[in-house]
């Protein structure tokens, strides 16, 4: 007899199926979907690359052209949100998109390329132009010049100062 009671209860309950994909479904505000890099705010510092557990964010540099690439591969992303927490410039956000199926792997990459700044003494690119601009704005005037020289040359100048001062 129990199985008929269950049947009647089911009939009374009615249809529970969602009408997806014919109608969109609602996701909550706190949903963790696809991460998107804001190309105007990103400066290429690489804090997100350090924090990403599965190495979905990687940093590559093309030293001949002088471009630094931040590559985001959402095929390997685990949607944890650590990159959003550690970015100092608020440039990467998790959106609410979840319909991410593709037929080719190239569609799963987002690449941001930023021009690099060359050291005036030795000519080697060592950081991005945007990062240098942001740092210069925050430093007092007497310390700004040191940022404009690459770390190796800075070492040499400091060593030269010391040996000169000792004389």
């Amino acid at each position: 007899m129990n199985r008929f009671r269950i049947l009647l209860q089911n009939i009374k309950r009615g249809v529970v199926t969602e009408k997806y994909p014919l109608e969109p479904i609602r996701v909550p505000e706190s949903f963790r979907g696809k991460p998107v890099i804001d190309v105007d705010k990103c400066v290429g510092c690489g804090a997100c690359v350090n924090a990403c557990p599965p190495n979905a964010l990687t940093l590559e540099e093309d030293l001949n052209e002088g471009i630094r690439y931040i590559k985001l591969f959402i095929g390997r992303c685990i949607y944890c949100g650590r990159c959003e927490e550690v970015c100092p410039f608020d440039a990467i956000h998790l959106t609410k998109e979840f319909e991410l199926a593709t037929t080719s792997k190239d569609d799963l990459y987002q690449i941001v390329g930023l021009r690099m700044y060359k050291c005036p003494i030795c000519g080697k690119p060592y950081t991005t132009i945007r990062l240098v601009k942001k740092v210069i704005d925050k430093l007092p005037p007497e310390e700004r010049s040191l940022v404009l020289i690459c770390p190796d040359c800075r070492e040499k100048i400091t060593a030269a100062n010391r040996s000169f001062a000792r004389r």
Binding site: E18, Y79, D106, R115, I129
Partner: protein, 193 residues
């Protein structure tokens, strides 16, 4: 692709070493709330009856020979739906020594054995929602349009470093007071303009 599967798509579910999150979501797509059977999609018990394979998990070395046998048993033409971040790119263990690292590495092995590379649909997520898996299977059938596109942005060449004159003066002063050679001073002040 869409002309081959206008009516229905039979799916065989293959777990190659995943944590079961994606597998439970695949089963969830067949329960009353999402109901994939409306579209003629059904889970079958043998790879020989299947049109498509729902593959989850980064392929582990112990499971590899059995995965190859199961793939060889599916008749042509076949579709592989790679579900989850482990199958698409290896996931959080993409470089571990007991894991192959996703379907792309599996295809390299299959090519050496002379098996043609099957049509692949990637469904990223950890785990993807059942609605996202349904979207991926319907994309294979040609019922929905693809929304995700790759994006490349490269900063244009004209973005130059503008530095104000008094900054150049202060750099000059500092460099002069640090007593390095005159040639190097001229080089710096001429470039930082």
């Amino acid at each position: 692709m869409s002309s081959l599967y206008r009516k229905s798509l039979w799916v065989f579910h293959l777990n190659t070493g995943s944590c079961n999150g994606c597998d439970i979501e695949v089963l969830n797509a067949f329960t009353p709330a999402q109901d994939a059977e409306r579209f003629g999609v059904k889970l079958v018990g043998s790879p020989r009856h299947a049109d498509a394979i729902a593959l989850t998990g980064p392929i582990t070395r112990e499971a590899l020979p059995r995965v190859i046998r199961a793939l060889q048993a599916v008749p042509e033409p076949k579709i592989v739906v790679a579900i989850g971040s482990c199958a698409c790119g290896g996931g959080i263990w993409h470089d571990s020594y007991s894991v192959l690292g996703g379907v792309e590495k599996l295809y390299e092995i299959l090519e050496k054995k002379g098996i043609k590379r099957p049509i692949t649909v990637f469904v990223p997520g950890c785990p993807p929602k059942p609605e996202a898996i349904l979207y991926g299977i319907l994309l294979a059938r040609g019922m929905v349009k693809q929304k995700q596109k790759g994006r490349i942005y490269v900063e244009s060449e004209s973005a130059e470093l503008m530095i104000s004159k008094d900054l150049i003066e202060s750099v000059k002063e500092q460099v002069m007071s640090s007593k390095i050679s005159r040639k190097q001073v001229e080089k710096i002040t001429s470039i930082v303009r």
